[in-house]
Symmetry: C2
Subunit: 568 residues, 2 copies
């Protein structure tokens, strides 16, 4: 146990938040004798940066709640030397020293045996004219948040334009909306929350608009117009000018368009860097220098589903990488397994969860995996128990072997649970056939005897076994739709509220008696509301000799997913 | 696809709820031509019996909500012949016929090619004197529930004694309490919810009592005293007399002490039966007769963790077994994988979840698995996000190989998610080392960067790797406790609110400076509130040469788990 070497190991950490602090704590647990120093550029260490968007709007009421540790408490507990407000400005790899500079002091140097880079990522500031105006902010650190709060308080800002509809942008939008501000979101892409598919994002768009937040999609920012005379008046003349000519007002403007690994220090030191960050081996050692480790947002990682390199700015992986680097330094046989990109986000009343790549991304980047997917809309728990709400779950898998490739879920409740179950299944290399067998906890307030995860497994397995053939709404061009006779097996009441263009109504319970009405020479596209009755209709028609496909996800996938062109 | 044989297959199903209806629906999807008949003794088919306790007290407001399907709707949709209120009274295996009797009619017989027994289980009625009184009820079927409701309405019953503190007993107690009735629970064992350990049940006891429900543990029922003159008067003289002499009042008395497989029919037909139900192979075929399948509560299943036979009365497995039997009949290569016993229950404000055997059960029945466990108390989501509540998670694993053997969790929220993740991990044959790596979804409203499942994995792996040695409160007899110098590394404020008998206070942040105060010759038992600071203390002391163990689960495990004898 512990470190028995005569001269204690010098461990130097650059960056004192998730990955860096996890490293330091683990290193101390493994060795009482090591010298551990953490340099942090900012004034705080070990804070909860994932809470920043919530503290911004007072959902987390006390900013102090985010500051989990202080330099003194860390020193007392872990005997780690914290140098906050101190920047490491150079690495001398040959002499194994770092040069650092505390605010207002001369630069000094410190020796290391092992150097851990955990600098995280910078909020990206795109070269937009006007983006340096005093009412334009990024939102990544506690000082960022404090600056926004001070500005809003001092100028009585009443509106905000949030540029960027990712995780942080959406959380910040909700948080500032909760403060009573008029919020607009400006997103460059056709949908918010870029890691998911368009059809999964559509209900998020509806929820954002339902909460009276203005949403601008496909919106190219031309410039930020924050006239000096407007500064401090909150008079509403400050705005984001879109290329369309539209003006999106914002007394303050948030620039939350993603992050970029902080690679300057590593680059100057000559470490190998890709466009995803510092390149490391599975022990998180720089491929250039084994005495330098890189962890967290600044390190390139491998997606363990697609085996493609990626940059992943998530706290969980950062923490685990920091811990693993410490284990490796102290002689443990450890390897990082890559990431699957498990994430979840709450946006007003909707939750969206994701693991693995989106279908769009699988098709474009990993066609070699032979991706397919199915869509189900089960309730979050037994429909007969009060408060049940629907989920939409897209499950991606490989047609070749049934391996699960990813999942996207939206709904009001129970999203995080199913994403975590599917993330576990993916990491265990389960197939969709395994999901059929999966025994999950059932009581009416929590789930169903056939859990949504089982349902998705049943449908996917049915597809792979050839028990059903499906077609996705996104593949239904008008030309393809015209090749089918379209049969709606729902009830007349459901049909009356909207149907697929050209559909004829033949309620499932009457279908066996109405086969004579169908054209035996023409392919049948059968559908219901969510897919199950369509599947039953498929089984009847198929066994009666028809050529038939079932519409994946049913009419709900069409109407909710933004496929308005398909609606009759 | 489908059944192409000249004479259609005759499929006869006995029992029309979970397993039987799942069989029938799947069989029809696989074959339009098969003849499918379902005999159901009761008046309803395809109903949600898991909802009965909730409908009893009006949490589910409409009884009709439980009746998911009617004979007519099933006939229309699945072309399945439903014979409700009809009992199958004999099986003639030689001639492959069943004899059945509809209420008020002559017995008839029907031919089968394959017979599916899905009769479920009967509520057990122990031979207690007085248990046939008109105010004594079981609670398993819709008629049971209707009878209780009618009685309560007609007699203005104001109190209930629930005999049995399992799943159904607890759900019924809560449900009747919600109606405003005075509720008492009478449990034979030292704790309610028998599948979990005593220390996990203790917070449930506290929650039950906090809700003004009387709880009688270790309570042997002598007799039920329901005097004729008391019937219908609701005068409070009806009661359960315990062997202790105590009288537990109940205008009505619920007898919910478990279920017994309905094996009479199968036994008479000469099928192999164990004390867990009808014995089947992995295709759910009777080991005696391959043309007879048994599914659901009446079939013996194998626990896939312990490989021991068991009877499991849960809806999810019943449904999957029914589906699997149909798959097998239609030529699919399928095998049932056994069960892990994943379950969850809501009791007032507490949720309790379970997968695999309890520690008690592992020690007594599966010592060959070399079981060990760890206890953690993490919050359900980021502590700094509003509304965080603590979980208690016991993770069982094999000391031999780190295989996960089970988990028990209690808490106010997030229990079902972690149980499902761990159930998935177990079914994927993951080890506790895999839990360290598991990438789960994190955003402050949903979890933590280190999820409770990761935390349990870290602690268990630390134990297996020898990075920490632990001792459980249940193993701390007074004699064993006396062998240690007990060091409490919490704050003085925490110490003042209660401590382990004989403990000395040495707050963690001061521990390094106070090593001189300790006796180097005597083993140290270190502890904190939940275990993490104790682990840090362990690491410091161990590396400084002390013999030391950390108290698993900390002082919280002692105080919450009912180990009052250990408190100083």
């Amino acid at each position: 146990m512990g470190d028995q070497s005569p001269s204690p190991l010098n461990l130097v950490v650059v960056g004192g938040v998730a990955g860096g602090m996890s490293f330091a704590a683990r290193a101390r647990r493994l060795s009482e004798s090591a010298s551990i120093t953490v340099f942090e550029k900012g004034p705080f260490v070990g804070y909860a940066n994932c809470g920043i968007p919530y503290a911004l709007g007072g959902i987390i009421q006390s900013d102090e709640a985010l500051i989990l540790q202080t330099p003194d408490s860390i020193k007392a507990r872990y005997n780690v030397d914290i140098r906050h407000s101190t920047e490491v400005i150079a690495i001398d790899r040959e002499n194994k020293t770092v040069e650092y500079k505390t605010q207002g002091q001369e630069a000094k140097s410190m020796k290391y045996d092992k150097l851990i880079l955990a600098q995280g990522a910078d909020a990206f500031r795109p070269p937009i004219s006007g983006s340096n105006a005093p009412n334009v902010f990024t939102l990544q650190t506690i000082p960022d948040m404090t600056a926004i709060k001070s500005y809003v308080a001092a100028h009585c800002s009443k509106s905000v334009a949030v540029i960027g509809g990712g995780f942080i942008g959406l959380e910040a939008a909700e948080s500032l909306h909760a403060l009573g501000m008029k919020v607009s979101i400006v997103e460059y892409m056709p949908h918010v929350f870029p890691p998911v598919d368009q059809d999964i994002a559509e209900p998020i768009h509806a929820e954002i608009r339902r909460n009276n937040v203005d949403l601008h999609l496909n919106a190219r920012v031309k410039e930020i117009v924050a006239p000096i005379e407007a500064e401090g008046t909150g008079n509403g003349s400050s705005h984001v000018l879109l290329e369309s000519g539209e003006k999106v007002p914002g007394d303050i403007i948030l620039l939350v368009v993603g992050v970029r690994p902080r690679i300057t220090l590593a680059k100057t030191a000559g470490l190998e860097i890709s466009r995803f960050g510092i390149v490391t081996n599975a022990q998180m050692q720089s491929t250039t220098d084994p005495d330098i480790y890189a962890v967290g947002d600044m390190a390139e990682t491998t997606n363990s589903i697609t085996l493609l390199p990626q940059n992943l700015a998530l706290a969980g992986p950062a923490n685990r990488q920091g811990r693993l680097a410490a284990d490796h330094i102290f002689g443990r046989d450890v390897s990082y397994r890559g990431n699957v990109g498990t994430s979840v986000c709450q946006i007003f009343g909707i939750n969206v969860g994701l693991v693995g790549p989106s279908i769009t991304s699988l098709h474009s980047q990993s066609p070699n995996l032979d991706p397919e997917y199915v869509t189900v809309h089960p309730p979050n728990h037994a429909a007969y128990y009060p408060g049940a709400t629907p989920l939409t779950l897209k499950l991606a898998f490989s047609k070749r072997n049934g391996n699960i490739l990813g999942a996207q879920i939206i709904g009001k409740a129970g999203v995080d649970k199913r994403i975590d179950v599917l993330a576990t299944a993916i990491q265990a290399r389960m197939t969709v056939y395994d999901l059929e067998h999966l025994e999950l906890a059932y009581a009416p307030p929590f789930g169903s005897a056939k859990d949504p995860v089982n349902m998705a497994g049943f449908v996917a397995s049915n597809v792979l076994r050839g028990d059903t053939e499906i077609i996705h709404p996104e593949d239904l061009t008008p030309e393809i739709l015209d090749q089918y006779q379209v049969i709606d097996v729902r009830s007349p009441g459901e049909f009356a509220r909207g149907y697929v263009r050209g559909a004829k109504l033949a309620p499932l319970n009457e279908l066996r008696g109405r086969l004579g009405d169908l054209d035996r020479e023409k392919k049948v596209l059968v559908y219901c509301q969510v897919g199950y009755r369509g599947y039953l209709g498929y089984r009847i028609l198929k066994q009666e000799g028809f050529k038939v496909v079932n519409l994946d996800g049913g009419f709900k996938a069409v109407s909710q997913g933004g496929f308005g062109l398909l609606v009759g």
